[in-house]
């Protein structure tokens, strides 16, 4: 199972991103583990400084924004093959 990471110190937008991912997972029947990274050092170790960050299967996909659903689903489908 591949991992999707949501990186953020836990303010509102990180939660929004997390919820959207979970909703998309259900809606499209995707298979992945969703994990949250809240520790500043670990967030930085991905090179991410603007939260929320999104890392899909080890690849940094977005930084500092909550991407749109269409974009998210495209990335998820590409990376989770």
């Amino acid at each position: 199972m591949k991992t999707v990471l949501v990186l953020g110190t836990g303010y509102s937008k990180c939660k929004v991103l997390e919820q959207r991912l979970l909703a998309l997972k259900q809606e499209h029947g995707l298979e992945f583990d969703l994990a949250k990274v809240t520790d500043l050092e670990s967030i930085l170790s991905h090179g991410i400084m603007m939260t929320p960050g999104l890392v899909i299967d080890g690849k940094v996909r977005s930084v500092g924004t909550v991407p749109r659903d269409a974009q998210l689903i495209q990335w998820l489908k590409e990376d989770l093959q």
């Binding site: 110190t9 967030i43 400084m49 603007m50 939260t51 960050g53 977005s62 500092g64 749109r68």
Partner: protein, 372 residues
């Protein structure tokens, strides 16, 4: 919350309601002053300044491309570019104060190094767009500009000092950079975004102009029409929604605390004796600036609340110099933030940073009080 704590809180509330001397003049005066100031803000500043300012900040968060700025704070950037960029980028990158620490740590450990990181850390909260606009609207544009310029100059000085004192640090962190370029490029030209922001700024400033009502109405409608034009014909629906969402997010985060801060500021005027303020920070001496600087360094101000509080302290006789000093340290340092800094930077670096900021803010306030 444990059941016992709830009980204790309720009992405490009961005792306060039972015994509070609500007819005592100091209580009625305080409540009255708090409410009066709230009304003043509601009538004079909310619609004409805060609402447009929040929309501007929201637009910066959504439409301004942050990647380009971030790249300039990377490990390979020339220092003479990194410092000035770091000192102004807070206004673009950190629309909300909760993003400052991750950015600071990133620049510090993986980017341009300790100097630019410190410059960013100091100006990030200080050149917040809404804060500058509210300062101008409430206290006058000389204060807004003074605050902005002083913060930028001090940040570069503090950054250079830190870089000189802790020269050894930077050699370690050249190997990595940070992730940029993944924000999903928006299909709008820079010119569009700049015009969009300027039009909004025009609305905000236009409201405050004391010119003929007819001309004012015409100007404001022209600006608003321009904004509407861009929103309807250029920007995509989803981005506009994002803009509204971002703006609403900021309002939710800031406005409740600001209202509470305004109320408290009103009370301050009643409970703090005038002689006390005048004696401590009434004149523009080095000592009174140092007092204001140290007080600001420890005191925590929620975003924007520094404005009504300093406004009322000035009403009680605080000098212009110490007021500017308080703006400088009040925003950037507080007891909670110091604790975090000690954790991230270590004892020596954090102490040098804090002392530098306190001293240079004192100097800046003193100069401001003397010459402006």
């Amino acid at each position: 919350m444990k059941e016992w704590t709830k009980f204790a809180l309720l009992v405490a509330a009961f005792l306060i309601f039972y015994f509070a001397p609500i007819n005592a003049p100091v209580v009625t005066d305080s409540l009255m002053a708090g409410l009066t100031l709230l009304q003043e803000y509601a009538r004079l500043h909310v619609l004409t300044c805060l609402v447009p300012a929040f929309f501007i900040a929201g637009a910066i968060a959504v439409y301004v491309k942050k990647d380009a700025v971030l790249k300039l704070l990377g490990p390979t950037t020339k220092k003479y570019i990194a410092y000035p960029i770091a000192s102004i980028s807070g206004g673009i990158l950190a629309v909300c104060s909760c993003t400052i620490l991750p950015l600071f740590t990133g620049i510090y450990k993986r980017g341009a190094g300790i100097g630019p990181a410190v410059a960013f850390l100091f100006t990030g909260p200080a050149i917040n767009v809404t804060a500058i606009l509210l300062t101008g609207n409430v206290l006058g544009w000389d204060f807004a500009v003074g605050r902005l310029v002083a913060a930028m100059i001090i940040s570069v000085i503090a950054g250079l000092i830190m870089a000189a004192v802790f020269r050894g640090h930077d050699r370690k962190n050249t190997e990595t950079g940070f992730a940029t370029g993944m924000q999903g490029d928006l299909p709008y030209s820079n010119a569009t975004v700049i015009v969009f922001l300027l039009l909004q700024l025009g609305v905000l400033i236009g409201f405050g102009l004391s010119i003929e009502p007819l001309l004012k109405g015409f100007l404001l409608s022209a600006f608003l029409a321009g904004i509407a034009g861009i929103v309807i014909f250029v920007y995509q629906r989803e981005d506009n929604l994002e803009w509204i969402r971002e703006t609403w997010d900021l309002v939710k985060k800031i406005l409740p605390y600001l209202f509470a801060g305004v109320f408290v500021a009103g009370i301050i005027e009643v409970v703090i004796p005038r002689e006390f303020v005048v004696g401590l920070v009434g004149e523009n001496s080095v000592l009174s600036n140092l007092v204001a600087s140290t007080f600001g360094a420890f005191m925590y101000f929620a975003t924007l609340t520094e404005v009504p509080i300093i406004q009322k302290l000035m009403g009680l006789g605080m000098g212009r110099g110490p007021a500017l000093t308080l703006f400088l340290t009040g925003n950037s340092l507080s007891l909670p933030s110091m604790i975090v800094l000690f954790k991230i930077m270590g004892k020596r670096q954090a102490s040098v940073y804090i002392v530098t900021i306190v001293l240079f803010s004192t100097a800046a306030g003193w100069l401001f009080g003397k010459y402006f």
